[in-house]
Amino acid sequence: MNIHVEYMSQLRSSIGASEERFALDAGADVAGLLRAIAERHGAAVAALLFSDGGLPSATLLCFVASQQVNGNSTLADGDVVTLITPISGG
């Protein structure tokens, strides 16, 4: 299945792109998508996506369309996933 991913904030800067497409097996979940992103982009990006224990970072905001989801959420063909790493003021 095809997933359209949009990156925001520090994640976008680290990847160097605002969006990408991934082909995943049917039934893949958000955590599987994050692993695919980390495999494509390496350790610096993986550090933004996963905690030290290898689970999806609790501070990573994940949305499918406009609805917040978590790492266990199953994706469907054509989903648009938005990923936002934490930002603050100043």
Binding site: M8, S9, Q10, R12, S13, S18, A47, L48, S51, D52, S57, A58, T59, L61, F63, S66, Q67, Q68, T82, I84, T85, P86, I87, S88, G89, G90
Partner: protein, 249 residues
Amino acid sequence: MTEPTALTPEEQAAYEWQLDVPGFAEAGQERLKGATALVSRVGGLGGVVAYELAAAGIGRLVLAHAGDIEPSDLNRQLLMTHDAVGTSRVRSAERRLKELNPRLVIEAVPENIDATNAARLVGEADVVIDCSPLFEERFAMNSEAVRQHKPLVECAMYELQAQITTVLPGATPCLACIYPEPPPAWKRRFPVFGAVSGTVGCLGAMEAIKVLSGLGEPLAGRLLIMDLRDMQFRMMTIEQRPDCPVCAG
């Protein structure tokens, strides 16, 4: 929450353009005049929040910001001036705000929010606007706002992007629902334009005005995300964490 305070003829004249806003009127202005807002940091983001609240006629501002003005503040911190580099940020903010609105009561606190002062400063406010860069400040404010049932406007920015939501304790996700732990890879210094901090600062002020006056619908349980690079504004739904250590139960 706020105690409406009657307007003077001078105030009626000063605010006549917004007194015509449907759903606001003199009753909304009186609620604003009777209200206190805590703005944490008066830099690129909080300075604009404070300026818009001062212009709108809020009665009292509590401003918390430590440190002195640095040259690198001046691309975005509109309450700071070139001739005041090296002097107190919060005093500069106080001076600029009083120039705009001499009726405004200001408590200028030359400290950043932390666990030792959050209870007192949040306790003085009817609404809190979080414009802080450090997550420990943000978490301290969030915990106290939830504990004291004070609405909290959460503003943030990065590069040409920004986001904002309003926490209504007991009804919406709090900051610890959004970020349940300090973000490990977050960096204190980040790229941003002053026009980006100003954009989200204006929205933060508008949220505070709405919460205080009862006007409109605040961003409760919704996260507005903005990308000014292509001018996309999107509304996302955010969820409470059932195991949130701050607001659950």
